[in-house]
Symmetry: C2
Subunit: 387 residues, 2 copies
């Protein structure tokens, strides 16, 4: 009596890893968790009088008007001109993935994604019955060329994470975004850009969103406050092409009426009073230092066992192992024997890939934990490769 | 390039009515809104030290463990024995409807609902492609008999609101619940009981949930804190048969990872410290008085134009008009000319119904506004019937 889609609900492996990673004494390189001391603590006492009382009744499905204005201004300043009327407030950007899947996916629909890409997007698209095509394996070719190879005439949606991608850390240049957008404009599909890491730029600011270069294709762009303020607030946003916005708004209403109002007023206050940029200025040096610490540790312990790029932003290193290896077994042994949690690469691939990869988060553990954890990872990997 | 389901997204009529109903100067009988002064104002300062800081990181998809324990204890005390492991915390119970629709509905699936029933459930079931069958029109027959008439061999889900139903206000007796459960146990379907109004009982406590009488059928039961604390907190819960719970948990994870943690600690505190029963003891007399005021006003102004039952709980009167009438036109004229908002009955029917009905909420307006609003409704209805 269950719907067919329930057979497509993938295993809870990732849930299990993340749950194990939060056990006491485990060094977690697994999730995309902010450092505990980098979480934004809202100052409830500083809220205007009556702000809480005004947030207790049912609210608009679109989100709080003042927060929508703040988001539109922020995105316009980042190079994506938009109005508050195009902004929909979400319970974190995972909800945007659910809404866009409802908007555009039904069984058999072809969806083109980067491969590797964000695993929870793959899970959601598969749940709705998508047939996934992946692109991104020919590392010598520019993104537009790789995209073109993956595009089929019946592709109706593409999901892109052009800025400090999860898991690869890749960031497309300004000209690569222009070329990709021009290519996408030639096809009849929806472009869905997921951009939760934009503000976590450690070297130079990220180029404007890819969708800002589109002339024809309808698009949805989304971001999140989870990585730059606090995930527990469960707040993200999307902004959509005017042709798509009314559908997404109705889907949001059907999903849960509206987002949490208390979180909305807290985040709106953080934007209105300049607390967000101040918080970012405080956490960016912490994350940059952890990234650099992990780069050093990787070079020292794993230089002969894997290759990687230094990520210019975001939260992850993506390692391609020099030899084929069962990364699921590596993950299990490492967690059990060494109390270190990593993410195997397999779940991030839309289509099977010959490479053995792992993803390492650098934001949650401190420099000492990072070095000790990477050393244990190297030891475990050597043990596994000898057998 | 949109999914077929987008064609089934019903019109935004209800959104428009509810938006108009919140305009200044409008007396709203439209939504199921708590009275402004009956909203629970959380005492943020009274939270244990560190409670807020502990709610900023990612949390479990199931919900906060302490809140799940509180909900399980509360439901067990109400006659539905369950464990915390069966409880899933939701962003309001609208989310439970979305999750159960994903669990059990695909295009062409037959779903049996009471008719009339909660319109947003109908919208969500239709979005997922359900073919709806309705039961409940033969008012002289007991519920089990009426149900049996609507059941088809290919019905795989039934959605029930046995306690102070929205919109009808009906409440099944203990023996009617037993008989209905016995009938449902003979069929291969999922029983979905939606119970947001249980605690708003003005005369006698409601009988235990219908699903507590099931022996065979898998079930999902859900409730909400929106009507008894505050809708802006966006918090509800479901409890499910162990065979269904793991699927619902994964669907929740795919939908938005987890619910807002700040609201969860506030509601958990209200349950742990006895603030919820104290708040209920304060608001029940207010709502009882408003129900009785509306009953008086209806009798005085509309006694010859409609019939209704006094609701023993919940938030609504359901009026069947004595003469056929275009209730959409009534709604529009009343809002425009008299600044009174009501809900026409049509959207609550799963299948077209010959009766002309309207739903009136009695919790939001005060007694004076209720009497003036009902008088204007009566006048407008007489005008309409004369044309």
């Amino acid at each position: 009596m269950l719907a067919e889609r329930i057979n497509r609900l993938t295993s809870s492996l990732v849930r299990d890893i993340l749950a194990a990673a939060s056990s006491p004494g485990v060094t977690s390189f697994a999730g995309g968790l902010p450092a505990e001391h980098a979480l934004f603590v809202p100052d409830l006492a500083a809220l205007p009088a009556g702000a809480l009382a005004g947030a207790l009744q049912y609210g608009p499905s679109e989100g709080e008007p003042a927060l929508r204005e703040q988001v539109a201004a922020m995105l316009s300043a980042q190079g994506l001109p938009c109005t508050a009327g195009q902004v929909l407030i979400l319970n974190g950007s995972q909800q945007g993935i659910d809404l866009v899947a409802k908007l555009a996916i039904e069984p058999g629909r072809r969806v083109l994604v980067e491969s590797p890409t964000y695993l929870a997007a793959l899970q959601s698209f598969r749940l709705f019955g998508a047939e996934l095509d992946g692109w991104g394996s020919d590392e010598g070719m520019p993104p537009a060329g790789r995209l073109e190879k993956g595009l089929r005439t019946d592709t109706r949606l593409t999901y892109l994470n052009p800025t400090f991608q999860n898991p690869s850390g890749a960031c497309y240049s300004h000209s690569e975004r222009q070329a990709l957008a021009a290519e996408l404009d030639c096809h009849s599909l929806i472009v869905f850009e997921d951009d939760p890491y934009r503000d976590l730029a450690y070297d130079t600011p990220a180029p404007p969103p890819l969708v800002s270069h589109l002339q024809q294709a309808p698009w949805v762009y989304q971001g999140s406050f989870s990585k730059i303020l606090a995930p527990g607030l469960r707040l993200g946003y999307l902004v959509a092409h005017p042709a798509l916005f009314p559908h997404l708004l109705r889907l949001k209403q059907a999903a849960d009426l509206h987002s949490n109002r208390l979180s909305q007023i807290l985040v709106c206050d953080a934007l209105q009073t300049g607390k967000l940029p101040a918080h970012l200025a405080r956490i960016l040096p912490v994350y940059r230092a952890r990234r650099d610490a992990m780069a050093d540790s990787l070079q020292r312990h794993l230089g002969d066992l894997a290759r990687w790029q230094l990520p210019a932003g975001g939260l992850f290193f993506w390692l391609t192992l020099a030899e084929r290896c069962d990364t699921m077994a590596l993950m299990r042994d490492l967690l059990k024997e060494d109390r270190v949690a990593i993410m195997p690469g397999e779940p991030f691939f839309a289509v099977p890939d010959a490479r053995s990869c792992i993803r390492l988060n650098f934001s949650h553990a401190d420099a000492g934990q990072i070095d000790a954890g990477v050393a244990r990872l190297a030891g475990r990997l050597r043990t596994l490769l000898c057998h």
